[in-house]
């Protein structure tokens, strides 16, 4: 017998992560700190390590509320100023 599947269609295309750059040297890095505990420490230390190892450059550190999407202003700044964003940290 036939039954319906339950999910329905996906509407607007989901945003996928961009492919990782092959070479980091000279790339501009932005940190998007979601203000979860220790997120800023973790992400900034990671950015520092990347600077040391690859000659990428940390350009800006932005913050957002973990429960909300990043404001357009923050996304616009990151889009304009960096090629790589370090973000994503849970509790």
């Amino acid at each position: 017998m036939q039954i319906y599947t339950p999910e329905g269609h996906v509407g607007e295309p989901q945003t996928n992560l961009a492919p990782s750059p092959v070479v980091l040297s000279g790339k501009r890095i932005g940190v998007l700190d979601n203000t979860k505990p220790n997120a800023g420490i973790l992400l900034n230390r990671l950015a520092t390590r990347l600077e040391e190892r690859t000659k990428a450059i940390l350009v800006t550190v932005e913050t957002k509320n973990a429960a909300l999407a990043a404001p357009d202003q923050v996304m616009g700044k990151l889009t304009k100023e960096v090629e790589i964003v370090l973000t994503g940290s849970a509790d």
């Binding site: 017998m1 036939q2 039954i3 319906y4 599947t5 339950p6 999910e7 329905g8 269609h9 996906v10 509407g11 607007e12 295309p13 989901q14 203000t35 505990p37 509320n65 429960a67 909300l68 999407a69 849970a90 509790d91």
Partner: protein, 348 residues
């Protein structure tokens, strides 16, 4: 009958366990037996709505960006064991879920145990046999149980709130299986809650994204203040998100006997909210020690350490409705925090 609007799949029989297993291997279902969503059952569900477009997108639900059409909602209603009369409530609930201020993406994706509580108000609650009286949170009533379950299936399937993927809840929670009640309007001394939100429709639904209910019992008090003091004490837990997130709401489900005590002393809903706002307070210094990150209003940040701070930033964030049967047990439903409740008329 249009069969190619949503995808179909083949199973070898109508046995609920067979449906459950066939769905489970695809990552669908809530773990409980499911009713087969055959085209005939879904069509019967949709025919209850009359002359409306079954494939109109009612809302696009985050985080999957799933399109909740009447048909897709009906499929999940069949799966949950709903009757056609429950479908208008579900369609309206989906509209409420998609309101920007509800922040469904956050509600679904958080590590918190939040679940949307669906409250049915007015005439349709009676017409469709929802329970706002004895044992309203369950178990036992088909309308409450099946509608709440269907709403969760809609979140799992259409919204993509699957544990570990679209739902990061650390422990999950029983309210994520089903969470639906009617307002006990017959025993409310204050009229419908929905009208306090500006929705004057004969029937309406409210969605409040919060925790499972916390019980508050008061067997002895014949005046409002001692009852409400106990409720205030339940609101003052450091473990609730309301403590560091001051925009968070509280839903106060007053049992009829507690509500009558308040009303008989001339207390309105807003009187109760104002009293609780002033009594549900904690020490500012202790709050600063407890939470590194505090989503407070600017006036709250300016308070001194030896001041008291209310558990929510405004009395209007304390919402009062009547629920339950005989007995002296009320409950509070704290918020996830970064969300606002939404009330909409029931429109199919």
């Amino acid at each position: 009958m249009v069969l190619d609007i949503l995808e179909m799949m083949d199973i070898s029989g109508d046995d609920p366990y067979m449906v459950t297993e066939a769905y489970a291997v695809r990552g669908w279902g809530d773990g409980l037996p499911l009713v087969a969503p055959t085209p005939e059952r879904v069509e019967e569900m949709l025919s209850f709505l009359g002359d409306v477009d079954p494939d109109e997108v009612i809302a696009t639900l985050a985080p999957r960006s799933g399109e909740a059409t009447r048909r897709a909602i009906a499929v999940n209603a069949v799966l949950a064991g709903c009757s056609p009369k429950h479908l208008p409530v579900l369609i309206s609930a989906v509209r409420a879920l998609s309101a920007p201020e509800l922040n469904l993406r956050g509600v679904n994706a958080t590590t918190h145990c939040v679940a949307p509580l669906l409250i049915v108000h007015g005439k349709y609650a009676d017409d469709a046999d929802y329970n706002g009286g004895l044992g309203a949170f369950g178990p036992g009533n088909i309308s409450n149980a099946a509608t709440g379950r269907a709403l969760r299936l809609i979140l799992l399937h259409i919204a993509g709130a699957t544990p570990g993927n679209g739902d990061a809840s650390t422990q999950g929670g029983p309210a994520k299986y089903t969470y639906c009640v009617a307002e006990n309007l017959k025993e409310s001394p204050w009229g419908s809650y929905a009208s306090t939100t500006g929705v004057d429709a004969e029937s309406a639904v409210t969605i409040h994204c919060g925790e499972a209910p916390h019980n508050v019992h008061d067997m002895e008090s014949s005046e409002p203040a001692p009852i409400l003091d106990k409720i205030a004490s339940a609101m003052c837990s450091w473990g609730q998100n309301n403590a560091p997130i001051s925009q968070g709401e509280y839903f106060i489900a007053l049992c009829p006997e507690h509500a009558v005590v308040c009303a008989d002393h001339g207390w309105s809903r807003s009187d109760i909210a104002s009293y609780l706002f002033h009594r549900a307070v904690v020490n500012v210094g202790e709050a600063r020690e407890a939470f590194e990150l505090r989503a407070w209003e600017s006036w709250q940040h300016a308070l001194r350490d030896d001041d008291s701070i209310p558990m929510t930033s405004h009395p209007a964030n304390i919402k009062v409705f009547v629920l339950g049967g005989p007995g002296k047990h009320s409950s509070i439903i704290p918020s996830w925090g970064m969300t606002k409740s939404v009330t909409v008329p029931i429109i199919a």
